[in-house]
Amino acid sequence: MAYSTKVIDHYENPRNVGSFGKDEQGVATGMVGAPACGDVMKLQIKVGAGGVIEDAKFKTYGCGSAIASSSLVTEWVKGKTLDEAAGIRNTQIAEELALPPVKIHCSILAEDAIKAAIADYRKKYGEGGSGDEKKAAD
């Protein structure tokens, strides 16, 4: 199957690969997996004051589309509030990367990963939305 140039770009030069240190403040992790293809995806966010995502990292074992989807999402969420990031839809990812129908599940995985990371953050640090900015940092 032919990958789009955007998928190949993210696959060959993935953005934000890696993990945050265990003790770093404001870090939350979303782990998801796709049984049908065995892909595993870990997406981490680092949230600063005002509930804004300052940085994001990922590690994905899967096909080029799964790697590109998670790489793209780490770029997109930077500078977004948690609520804004939670609004990212797999259709936007699929459109940006021109994913063929059989690879749509890769974009769904990336959407689920960012949602899982946000849920983990809220579990760890409370709501952390734009209202209670200091709770997370304390």
Binding site: V32, P35, A36, D39, V40, K42
Partner: protein, 180 residues
């Protein structure tokens, strides 16, 4: 024989509807059924009869192939109970399970990077043991426990193990080619 067309795979092959299947009995039942419906036996029969025999042969093949493979068998059993394994849609695996998958995939990378087939073989053994354990859990979940949600979860987990093992095999093959 037409009434048998609506039978499920287990009924068709005369086997108890359980995850633990006697593979030799399955093989025998399949050969027997195939012998009865093989198109060659209908060479002199009418066009309609031959068509029916062909359908039966296809039906027998499908039943045999499904029941022979543990994941397919479990998925089929769960389907009979009205459960969807959610392999295409369910991405929320338990975190510790996903962590383990991540760690194993890292080991594959390391084994490949350091050209260490022994490490990859050891990982292969570990996957085999994990799979055997999951099969035992599946037999219980789909048997006496009737815990079909757990059964669905185990099917999803087994799909990851299959993929992992394929990655290990690919890595071993790459190393073997490099050594040649």
């Amino acid at each position: 024989m037409t009434a048998e067309f609506t039978r499920n795979h287990f009924e068709l092959l005369g086997l108890p509807p359980a995850f633990a299947v006697d593979l030799q009995a399955l093989e025998r039942a399949y050969r027997e059924l195939q012998g009865r419906v093989h198109p060659d036996r209908f060479a002199a029969a009418s066009e309609a009869e031959r068509r029916v025999a062909m359908q039966w042969a296809a039906r027998a093949n499908e039943a045999y192939r499904t029941l022979r493979n543990p994941i397919d068998r479990a998925r089929y059993l769960l389907g009979l109970k009205g459960y969807d394994t959610g392999e295409e849609s369910n991405t929320a695996m338990p975190p510790d399970f996903l962590m383990q998958q991540m760690a194993w995939r890292e080991q594959v990378e390391e084994g490949l990077g350091s050209r260490d087939p022994a490490a990859l073989e050891a990982l292969r053994g570990e996957i085999g043991r994990e799979r055997a354990e999951m099969h035992a859990l599946l037999a219980r979940a789909l048997g006496d426990e009737r815990n079909y949600d757990a059964g669905c979860s185990l099917v999803r987990k087994l799909r990851f193990l299959d993929r992992l093992e394929a990655e290990v095999d690919d890595a071993l093959e790459t190393l073997a080619e490099g050594a040649r």
